[in-house]
């Protein structure tokens, strides 16, 4: 038995929409099989994981809190990946943004002004942009691989945060706990509802919509798409390679930084050694689940946020580790990539070993092999 891929002449439109849904369905299917193996009622488990987060107002609000950073980062990464640029250090950019933005509430806690929040947000975006600018600079200037440099900077950012909250930025009245002071009210983002959903959710919506328009309607968006799909054509078109690199890293870094400052000035409310449960890495899956479309990141973010919350719910209700959520996320990305093949190719299963003989006549332009042609000629003359 052999799987054979045949390139489709055109990308399948049906599959483009269906593949993310199929990937989610397959993940649930494999998940329920695994639950059943461990002796847990699969239907109940799937309900707890994927449906229960949507059933109460509290959990829906919590869902939006988790969707916010995922969409912000995922939309930016979608653009990077579109250009075939692999920024996988969004987690570090998130931390850098959080640190830059948090410098105001920590260093100037008494500065109560209408300008404080905008300044924090801008600083946060700037911090993320600088952190993402390093791999872009190193790639443009020295040709260094951006995958590795951006990832290495994640570790550096984590250690920087760790040093700050244990050292210079530690709360003097905090009983030596590695935490900064809690931010004052005027340094926290406006909230909606029960006070969990914050302004970041609005930013996420705006970012996803604006980036979608940008990709579809602007020259830079076009340059990014061409660079990813036909790099040679983009060179012939005179599009600047360093230019798109700067731009993609800048925008994705700024959005990751914004996500970071929104986290610490929102649900977290202070700096602590861990400020994100790996949003920067999960957002990679968000981008792919959204088919590298900024609007699709809304869908992707929703699914992965459900996965996070479902993991917490499963820990309480089924007493299984919340780490299963991470396994689900990994499985989901595998299935997305598998299903993406269906967009580009038809998959056929060949049961018998295929013999490649000249008699098969697979030559282009209908030129058959010698044997079949003589057979045709024989028929014609008789």
């Amino acid at each position: 038995m052999k799987l054979v891929l045949e390139k489709r002449p055109e990308r399948s439109r049906t599959m483009q929409v269906a593949s993310p849904l199929l990937a989610v369905a397959l993940t649930m299917l494999l998940g329920s099989i695994l639950f059943a193996v461990r002796g847990i009622d699969p239907l109940h488990a799937i309900y707890v994981y994927f449906i229960s987060p949507l059933t109460t107002l509290w959990s829906v609000e919590e869902l939006i809190v988790k969707v916010t950073p995922l969409v912000l980062i995922g939309a930016g990464l979608a653009i990077c990946f579109r250009a075939n640029l692999w920024n996988i250090g969004a987690e570090g950019q998130l931390i850098a943004g959080a640190l830059a933005g948090a410098s105001i509430p920590i260093l100037a806690p008494q500065w109560d002004s209408a300008l404080a929040i905008p300044a924090m947000l801008l600083l946060g975006m700037f911090g993320g942009m600088v952190w993402a600018g390093v791999p872009a600079l190193l790639r443009n200037r020295f040709g260094a691989n951006e995958i590795l440099t951006s990832l290495m900077l994640v570790y550096v950012a984590q250690y920087l945060l760790d040093w700050l909250v244990r050292g210079p930025w530690r709360d003097p009245q905090g009983f030596n706990f590695p935490k900064s002071i809690g931010f004052n009210d005027w340094h926290l983002l406006a909230t909606f509802g029960d006070g969990r959903v914050h302004l970041g959710a609005v930013f996420a919506l705006i970012a996803a919509a604006a980036l979608a328009v940008f990709m579809a309607r602007t020259l830079m968006g076009f340059e990014i798409r061409v660079r990813g799909e036909a790099p040679r054509a983009s060179t012939f078109g005179g599009f600047s390679v360093p230019g798109t690199t700067w731009f993609c890293f800048g925008i994705s870094g700024a959005l990751a930084g914004l996500a970071g400052i929104c986290e610490v000035a929102g649900p977290v409310g202070q700096l602590q050694p861990t400020i994100s449960p790996g949003y920067g890495f999960t957002a990679i899956i968000v981008a792919f689940l959204g088919r590298l479309n900024p609007l699709g990141a809304l869908f992707g973010g929703l699914v992965l946020a459900i996965c996070y919350l479902g993991g917490e719910a499963a820990q309480v209700e089924l007493s299984i580790s919340e780490k299963t959520a991470q396994v689900f996320q990994g499985m989901l990305l595998f299935f997305i990539l598998t299903c993406d093949t269906l967009v580009r190719c038809r998959v056929r299963v060949e049961w018998a070993a295929r013999r490649t003989s000249p008699a098969e006549g697979r030559l282009p332009l209908g030129i058959g092999s010698a044997s079949s042609r003589t057979a045709d000629a024989g028929e014609a003359t008789s």
Partner: protein
Amino acid sequence: MSALEAVLLTIITASTPLLLAAVGELVVERSGVLNLGVEGMMIMGAVTGFAAAYTTGSAAIGVAAAVGTGVAMALLFAFLTQTLAANQMATGLALTLFGTGLSGLIGQTFTGLPGVKLGALHIPGLSNLPLIGPVLFAQDVLVYASVAITAGVAWTFTRTRAGLVIRAVGSNHHSAHALGYDVAAVRYRCIAFGGVCAGLAGGYLSLVYTPQWIENMTAGRGWIALALVVFATWTPIRVAVGAYLFGTVWIMGLYVQGIGVAIPSQFLSSLPYLVTIAALLAISGNRILTRVNTPACIGQTFVPDR
């Protein structure tokens, strides 16, 4: 044991996992495939190696389990990228994310348990020599294996037909296909070999380096191994040199912390990652060296026309 001996020994134990993982990835990349899942294969090797050794009490079974897991993960990657022609970068990332998650889940019940250490293998006669005896000839079997694998890979690439085929597939998969080589089959084997090496590297961490299970204990070593391959411009001997340089940096950071120099420990801990970036810069600036050895088809998907 003298202080110098102790430092040299720790440098070898810190370098071996890097060397194992990097030399495996080197073979994968030489065949034209970029597997970003080294970190994921390593961490899975570490957790299953520990779990198997702990349950059976035998470190050898632990090593076997680590290798098996590494290969299983690698074959998953190979199936997606070679059979289903999925994007290599994304699939590699998926392997790392999946491995990190699954290892945390598997390892939950093993956290904080005392591990089984893989014993040292004294080479009779030689291990009694002063200084170099204990350092070079009284190591565990995986240290010798890492050296043997590196030498074997170097020999394969320069002296054997198999090495030529792998290089051909990595340099130009269309030509290799036209010559009648089964590109996917060659790559499957290379990816599986990378899985063996990454599994061994992970097993080394949880069976020798720190014989216990700690979540995320690979700490980016898989990524550093990837950087090492670039740093070594895809040549096995330079990978070995690079791995030992990095091992030295890693240990020096810990050592300086140990003697209590007034530098925040976080800066010393982030040193290996900063050095990785510096190393990438140093080598990327040298265009000739990188151009000559970079496998031309690296990261590209190959679907034969039919």
